[in-house]
């Protein structure tokens, strides 16, 4: 259709909101409508396109003349974009005989929206990456470094992460343009930086604060960065505790922080703060667990006044558990007095069980003067646990008072709800100690029966926790190891030294579960030494034996 010259159509065409230019093969403008003239005031008929329009449009015209454009159709693949003054314009050519009609379209807003969308997507991707990196380790130091590095790379020229003071010094991570994170602990005054003290005190996240770079102290605006153009402080919001502050710096000559960038920096800070406070909480919990565990570690195994004692302890591998099994060896001050060995198992898991374990061990320690009366000790301990406890946890114990009598060892054994100790005789017979008693910490009344056992030289008494007897495994993986299997194995252990027996028992149970989960395992072996005892020299010594 070539009706552009017709009056009616021409009027329509002139008044169209779309700028249209018709340009001939020589690059001269044949006609331009009103909208085109508003856009390109010099585009009068007869003018050269090269003079009237930006260079990108005349280049496009030259290209559009090349391929044969079917008359009346747009060249689908020919669309050019370029600036016209402040606007961005898209131009599409339509062949009009030998000339080309350029339909122009102001796409400034579309372009802006597209750019904003792309930026938003990049930021979202960055925040995702940041979250992933931050949360991949629950380690506060690493979180600080990652935060400083990411901020310096994506948000600013340099960044500092500043934590609340620890022993009067602020842990700080600084990252400049080289991407290297510097860790420091500085005694600085946050009051000297507007907004920093508030950010560190964990007030609800304040809007970012602009700092006049001229007033920034040297530890913030460092040498090597050149002149600072803009500086922003944001809080790193934690879980109800201040996680710290993030300071972003840009060099002079760089654009300041736009509103969008500030919002973005705040989003990043929120993620970093969450990761850092999670890491801190985790570190605190780990430290508490560590302290408790240290406190709960079994004592070193000794020789108690000429009685040989060996112990093995293997906590469950499930990380959520702090050992509920424990043992203690209390040597009597006087070699002629009874020493006390305690083996116990607190029901339940985790820190609560660990706290209860500590309480029980300390209580038993305080009750040592009464240790000659096991029933009394159990009653007193039960009373302590009932008054302070929630009555849903109990402990099982074996108390063993031991004394060397000549070359034999006399044991007084009391089981409080615990599997009775096993005695391995020299000839391989295995006997169960005749003791029974009530679990401690749940019932008002506790009863117990104490058994006295004499060990001849080379004979052993073995205590163990249910981590051994209830180890689940075997050929089908669903069987408990059980006391009977243990007894059967112990028949092969007549005359073995205590270390060998304790180690063997632990190994058997570990083999039984074959790498599966197991509960805590604790084993104690008490043995009457072989050889004639000559003298127990010097109180705590082993004495001397004939070979």
């Amino acid at each position: 259709m070539s009706g552009l010259g017709q009056d009616g159509a021409g009027a329509l065409w002139r008044g169209s909101p779309h700028p249209v230019l018709v340009v001939d093969a020589a690059g001269l403008i044949i006609r331009a409508n009103d909208a085109a003239l508003r856009l390109l005031p010099a585009a009068h008929p007869g003018a050269s396109l090269a003079d009237a329009a930006p260079a990108w449009l005349s280049c496009a015209h030259t290209r559009a003349l090349g391929p044969v454009l079917v008359s009346g159709s747009a060249a689908g693949d020919l669309r050019e974009r370029g600036p016209v003054g402040p606007a961005t314009v898209e131009a599409r050519p339509v062949r009009e005989g030998d000339a080309i009609a350029w339909w122009l379209d102001d796409v400034t807003d579309l372009e802006r929206a597209t750019r904003a969308l792309r930026l938003e997507r990049e930021r979202t991707a960055f925040l995702d990456t940041a979250s992933g990196e931050l949360l991949s380790s629950l380690n506060l130091d690493r979180c600080m470094e990652v935060t400083a590095r990411l901020a310096a790379r994506h948000l600013a020229d340099a960044a500092l992460v500043i934590l609340p003071p620890y022993r009067r010094r602020h842990p700080i991570a600084y990252c400049g343009q080289d991407g290297v994170v510097i860790r420091e602990e500085l005694a600085v005054d946050p009051e000297g930086v507007p907004g920093l003290a508030e950010a560190l005190q964990g007030y609800p996240p304040l809007p970012s604060r602009w700092i006049d770079p001229a007033t920034a102290p040297d530890w913030l605006a460092r040498d090597g960065l050149g002149e600072i153009g803009s500086m922003v402080v944001s809080a790193l919001p934690g879980h109800g505790v201040p996680a710290g502050a993030l300071v972003l710096l840009r060099r002079g000559g760089q654009a300041g922080f736009s509103e969008g960038e500030e919002v973005f920096a705040r989003l990043f800070a929120a993620r970093a703060g969450a990761a850092m406070s999670a890491a801190r909480l985790y570190a605190e919990q780990a430290a508490i667990t560590e302290t408790l565990m240290r406190e709960l570690l079994p004592p070193r195994v000794r020789n108690l006044h000429g009685v040989e004692v060996a112990a093995r302890y293997r906590p469950s591998e499930q990380t959520a558990r702090v050992g509920g099994d424990f043992y203690d060896l209390h040597a009597h001050a006087d070699p002629g007095g009874e020493s006390l060995v305690v083996l116990g198992d607190v029901a339940g898991k985790g820190l609560e069980a660990a706290v209860l374990t500590g309480k029980i061990r300390h209580t038993l320690h305080a009750l040592l003067p009464q240790a000659d009366d096991h029933q009394r000790v159990l009653e007193l301990l039960n009373g302590v646990l009932l008054t302070g406890g929630d009555r849903t946890r109990f402990v099982t114990l074996v108390l063993a008072s031991l004394l060397r009598v000549g070359n034999r060892v006399r044991l007084r054994l009391t089981s409080a709800g615990h599997a009775p100790p096993l005695v391995v005789r020299a000839d391989g017979r295995v006997e169960e100690a005749r003791t029974r008693g009530t679990i401690i910490g749940m019932l008002e009344r506790v009863t117990s029966v104490t058994d006295t056992v004499l060990l001849e030289p080379g004979e052993t008494c073995l205590f163990y926790t249910d981590g051994i007897s209830e180890a689940r495994g075997g050929p089908l993986g669903d069987e408990m190891y059980g006391d009977e299997r243990l007894k059967e194995e112990l028949r092969q252990c007549g005359g073995m030294p205590p270390e060998a027996i304790a180690e063997r028992v632990e190994m058997l149970a570990s083999q039984w579960v074959r790498g599966g989960d197991h509960d805590d395992m604790a084993v104690i072996a008490i043995t009457a030494p072989r050889g004639a005892h000559l003298s127990a020299v010097g109180g705590n010594g082993r004495g001397r034996f004939t070979a």
Binding site: H418, E432, L443, D483
Partner: protein, 123 residues
């Protein structure tokens, strides 16, 4: 290797007459399931008017220390509600646990087995 596979705890409630409640307990009563037994029985007690609570333990496979703790707590709650707890059809392993833990008489009302110094029955 074949891993140990825990069984879930099954509780089937059967109001077996006025004032009586029967609970058939099956599967594993351990650290992960002990709470269910307790909440179930306590909820039943809240209705009031019970004189006897019978736990039928015939289907019980494993009872560990947390399970024992739950049984003792159930016993306390039932007693405080003015009812009696019965542990029926107990497997041998449960009896051994009650015996070793010194809770046999407390939980069953019967004196503990006389022949308790030599449990030589193979598992």
């Amino acid at each position: 290797m074949t891993a140990f596979v825990p069984l879930p705890l099954t509780l089937v409630l059967d109001p077996s007459g006025p004032g009586a409640l029967r609970v058939a307990v099956g599967g594993d009563l351990d650290f992960t399931t002990a709470g269910e037994l307790l909440t179930t029985v306590v909820a039943a007690l809240d209705g009031g008017g019970l004189t006897d609570v019978r736990l039928d333990c015939g289907g019980l496979r494993i009872c560990d220390s947390s399970g024992l703790s739950a049984l003792l707590t159930v016993h306390r709650q039932v007693t405080e509600a003015g009812a009696r707890l019965h542990l029926d059809d107990r497997p041998a392993a449960l009896d051994r646990l009650l015996d070793v833990s010194g809770t046999y008489e407390h939980l069953t009302g019967e004196p503990a087995t006389s022949d308790r110094w030599h449990s030589t029955t193979p598992d």
